[in-house]
Every structure is written in C-alpha cells, then in structure tokens.
C-alpha cells in the first residue's frame, strides 16, 4: 500500500516538474509583462498587446511556420509512403542499406545536419530562403513517415493485394481500394509526426534561413527576440499560452479518442471470450 502511494507520488512529482515551466508561461501571461512578476496585478494587457500591438513580424513568422510545415509534411508524406512500399519490396540486403540511410537523419545530431545542409546549399548555390528551408524540412521529415508506414505494410497480408488482382481489380484499383486504405493509419500518423516536427524545428531553420532574406519562423523569431538586450515583449507569453492550450487539447483529444476505441475493442473481445 505504502509502496503504491510512493510510486504514484513519484510519477506525479515528475509530471508536475515537467509542467511547471509551461504553467509559469500561462500564469504569467496575465501579468502584463514577460518578466514573471505580478507587479501590475492580474491583467489582460499582454493579450491586448498580442492582438492589437504585436509587430507584423510575429504574424509573418507564424504564417511562414505553417506554410513551410504544410508544404514539407505533405511532400514528405507522399514521398515517404511511396518509398515505404518500394523499400518493403526490396531484397533484404539493399533494404538494410536503405533503412540505415533512412535512419541517419533521425539519429544524426541536428546541428550536424543543419551545417551540412548549409554547406551543401551554398556550394551548389541553391536559391536562398523558402527553397532551402522547405528542402531541409522535407529531408528530416520524410524518414519519420517511412518509419510509421513500414509497420503497417509489414502487418499487411500480401495475399490481400494478390486476391484483389485475381478477382479482376486493376493494379491501380487494387492500390486505391486495398493497399491505401490498409496503410492509411500509418500514413496519417506519419503526416502528423512530420507536421509537428517541422513546426517545432529550430536549428535547421536557423542555420538555413539566410540572414539577408529576412524570413523567420516562430522559433527563429523568438530566438532573435530573446537575444535582444531589452528582453521579450509582453505579447510572447500570451502567444505561447494560446499555442500550448491548442496543442495540449488537440493531442489529448486525438489520443483519448483512439484510447477509447481500443478500450471498446478490448471490451468486445472480452465479451466474445466469455
């Protein structure tokens, strides 16, 4: 009994510590400044500043973040899913090589990838700005898509596809009616992963955005604001509070739904077994 309470206490202590900084951001978004003091009392001033007085740069960088994430995750999802089908059909040896290359961007240190891409882009004079950023993001997003589609393909009985062909479906029809519906969950989770990783990226964007282009994403704009001697302006805390609430709600909603679905499935199986 004591052991159980101690275990629970320990887990929730770690959880509480993980959430403390995030709670600080939300709480002090009502302080009217970004300095983590309640000198002005409880106020909505920071929120007012966010929506009326925030620099245009903030909205530009938000838009850049989203555009880059959408384009690169869509391309990564298409290329990664198609590639997964190909890799699945490779001979073990070449498959092993390709899988290792696929793993490289995931395990590699981000800074090494960022500088190697930067050298590559400058050596071959790639156009500055969006081109470099989107190509870079596709490079580190696609491996995650491949990794999340592969398990679905492995689970799939290849006879299903053959059966569809034997029953007269054209390969294209079999692809759309059999294979794609089957691997869809993997494709979608790969897309979600690619999208969030791209949204969250800092290092690769920071080193490849090019100083002269003036392009910033949310994280690189935050970084340059943090380095200013005057410190952060008040609107940053409410901006991130809103993002935090949206992110937490979205992730919990999606996962609780699938969790419930699984629970229902388990219940059904239990009933059958009874």
């Amino acid at each position: 009994m004591v052991k159980k309470i101690a275990e629970k206490g320990y887990v929730f202590l770690v959880l509480a510590l993980m959430y403390l900084p995030i709670l600080m951001v939300i709480i002090f978004s009502f302080s009217g400044s970004a300095h983590f003091t309640f000198n002005n009392g409880f106020t909505f001033d920071s929120y007012k500043e966010l929506f009326t007085d925030a620099p245009k740069k903030l909205w530009d960088s938000l838009l850049n973040t989203v555009i880059i994430a959408i384009i690169s995750s869509v391309v990564a999802t298409i290329m990664g899913s198609i590639a997964a089908v190909g890799i699945y059909n490779m001979k073990p040896r070449s498959r092993h090589v390709v899988e290792n290359i696929n793993q490289l961007p995931i395990v590699n240190s981000e800074i090494v990838m960022a500088v190697s891409l930067m050298l590559f882009f400058t050596t071959f004079a790639f156009p500055n700005g969006y081109t470099r950023l989107i190509l870079g993001h596709i490079t580190f997003c696609t491996p995650y898509v491949v990794l999340s589609v592969m398990p679905r393909l492995m689970q799939m009985d290849s006879n299903i596809y053959e059966a569809a062909l034997d029953l007269g479906a054209s390969p294209i029809k079999a692809l759309f009616k059999v294979v794609i519906p089957y691997i869809l969950p993997g494709v979608l989770s790969g897309f979600a992963m690619a999208f969030t990783i791209s949204l969250d990226d800092f290092i690769i964007t920071q080193l490849n955005k090019g100083a002269s282009t003036g392009i910033d994403t949310l994280s690189t704009y935050l970084y340059s604001s943090l380095r200013k001697a005057s410190g952060l302006r008040a609107f940053w805390l409410p901006a991130f509070s809103i993002i935090i609430v949206i992110v937490v709600a979205a992730v919990l909603l999606i996962n609780l739904r699938s969790y419930k679905k699984e629970g229902r499935k388990k219940e059904k199986i239990n009933e059958k077994n009874r």
């Binding site: 198609i82 190909g86 059909n89 240190s109 981000e110 800074i111 592969m150 920071q206 935090i244 969790y259």
Partner: protein, 272 residues
C-alpha cells in the same frame, strides 16, 4: 511502326504493373543521396580545405592544439554524461512504474506532451524559475535544463521496452525463489537493456550538440559543443567547423552502432 511497338510495349508494362516493385523507393533513395549523404560528403571535404580551398590538415591540427576547443568538448561530454545518468536514474523508475499501470501509456503521453511546446519558451520559463529560487546560473542549471528538456527521450523507449517484456519471465524468476530485488536485477533489468541503450543515445547526442539552451541557462558562460559548432560557421570558419561536426558525427555513429547491436533480434527498428 517502331513507335507503335514501343507504345504497345509500354501498355504491356502498365498492365503487368504490380505494387510489388522496389522502383517506388528509387525517387526517395535519390532524394536522400542528394540531401543527406552529399551534404555529409561536402562536410568531409570542407574539413580538409583551408580558406583558399587548398587541401590541408591544418583544421584538425588547430582544433586539437587549441586548448579552448578541447575544453569545450570535454565540458560538453561531462555535461552530456551527467545529464544522461540523471535522466536514466530519474526516468527508469517512472517508466518501470508506468509499465505496470493500465493508464501508463496515457501518462507517458502527458510526459511527452511538453515537447510539443517550443523549447526556447520553456527554457525561458525555466530560467525565470531559477531566478525566483535565487539560483546562480552555471553548469548546474545547464544540467537541470538539459535533463528537463531530454528526459522524455529516455522515458519513451524505456516504457516501450518494459511494457513489451513478457511478465511470465518475472513470474518464473519468482517461482524459482528470487525475491523482488533479485527478480528485477536478474530478469527485468537485463531484458530492458535495449531500451536503456536507446534512451542513452537519444539523450546523450542532443545534449552535447545542444544549441541555445546552455547559453540561456548560464548567461553564456557555458557553451555546448553544438553552440561552438554554430559559432564557427557564423564566423565563416568553415574548415574547423566541419572538423567539429565530423567529431560530433563520429559520436553519433558509435552510439548508433551500439544501439543497433542491442536492438538486434528485435524486429523493432522504430525509435519511439
């Protein structure tokens, strides 16, 4: 005539088209060769070039003879080591306890969730907490910041491995007379080794190559290896920056070798 034959051949090919073709992987393989491997080759080439693009070993020489560089590298390794040990010591019990709970995977999700919030704003808030606690910023606060940032990477693989261990191993150990501690040490812990090694890799590498975190949490007195790589490139010192990146890459490859070795036999190639 020839055109017609060619056309018919083409149609025939489309008719014989099967999804069981590896050609689907070729565009991606090509893409990876261009955007992953070629940049690394260019990094390697740059490590041997001086500012006039001539071949030289000077970059290596000047890196290893400059005591500042060696100091930054050893400090990073020390911070990385301490951070990894702390993550393991704090994270293993969490993963172990959660592997026994039915709601474990939801709690793991809650632990991962903060990673979806920009690390710069979280580090900024952490710095504010240190200020409230009147803590002097330095190596200690950097390590706490690193543990805070990277501990989810330790708990995730540990939790996956621990939940996948067949409970009958532990039961068998108990039936054969082992007590709780012995069961854990002789059965559960060795079986969770692949998770431990994945966790170590996924914490150690990002810590030593971290960028911006250590500067923020130490008022720029502590620099990680990642920060100093960035500094070299910012100052156009491509040669020595490339040498440092290669050193980082060697660490990555060594740790990965061990990780793959530990995961061998397990079908699980997935990192998560």
């Amino acid at each position: 005539m020839k055109a017609k034959e060619f056309f018919l051949k083409g149609v025939g090919k489309i008719k014989n088209f099967r999804l069981t073709r590896k050609v689907f992987a070729y565009p991606y393989v090509l893409f990876m060769l261009i955007f992953v491997l070629a940049p690394l080759v260019i990094l390697l080439v740059n490590a041997f070039l001086d500012t006039d693009q001539n071949f030289t070993f000077d970059n290596f020489k000047s890196f290893f003879t400059d005591s500042v560089n060696v100091r930054v590298l050893s400090l990073s390794l020390a911070v990385g080591l301490i951070t990894t040990v702390l993550c393991l010591v704090i994270g293993y019990p969490v993963a172990y306890i959660l592997s026994k709970w039915s709601s474990g995977s939801i709690i793991v999700l809650l632990i991962i969730l903060p990673m979806w919030v920009n690390f710069l704003i979280r580090t900024y808030a952490l710095k504010a907490i240190f200020a409230l606690l009147d803590t002097t910023l330095g190596v200690g606060t950097v390590i706490i910041g690193m543990v805070y940032n990277f501990i989810p990477y330790m708990i995730m693989p540990l939790h996956t491995t621990l939940t996948n261990i067949d409970p009958s191993y532990a039961e068998a150990a108990k039936d054969l007379g082992a007590n709780g501690v012995q069961t854990f040490l002789k059965s559960t812990l060795p079986l969770s080794l692949p998770g431990i090694i994945s966790g170590i890799t996924m914490v150690f590498i990002p810590t030593i190559s971290a960028f911006a975190i250590s500067g923020m949490l130490s008022n720029n007195t502590v620099l990680m290896f990642g920060d100093s790589i960035n500094l070299r490139f910012a100052n156009q010192l491509y040669g020595i920056g490339s040498v440092m990146s290669l050193i980082m890459l060697v660490f990555v490859l060594i740790l990965n070798f061990f990780m793959n070795k530990a995961n061998k036999g397990e079908a699980q190639k997935n990192l998560w």
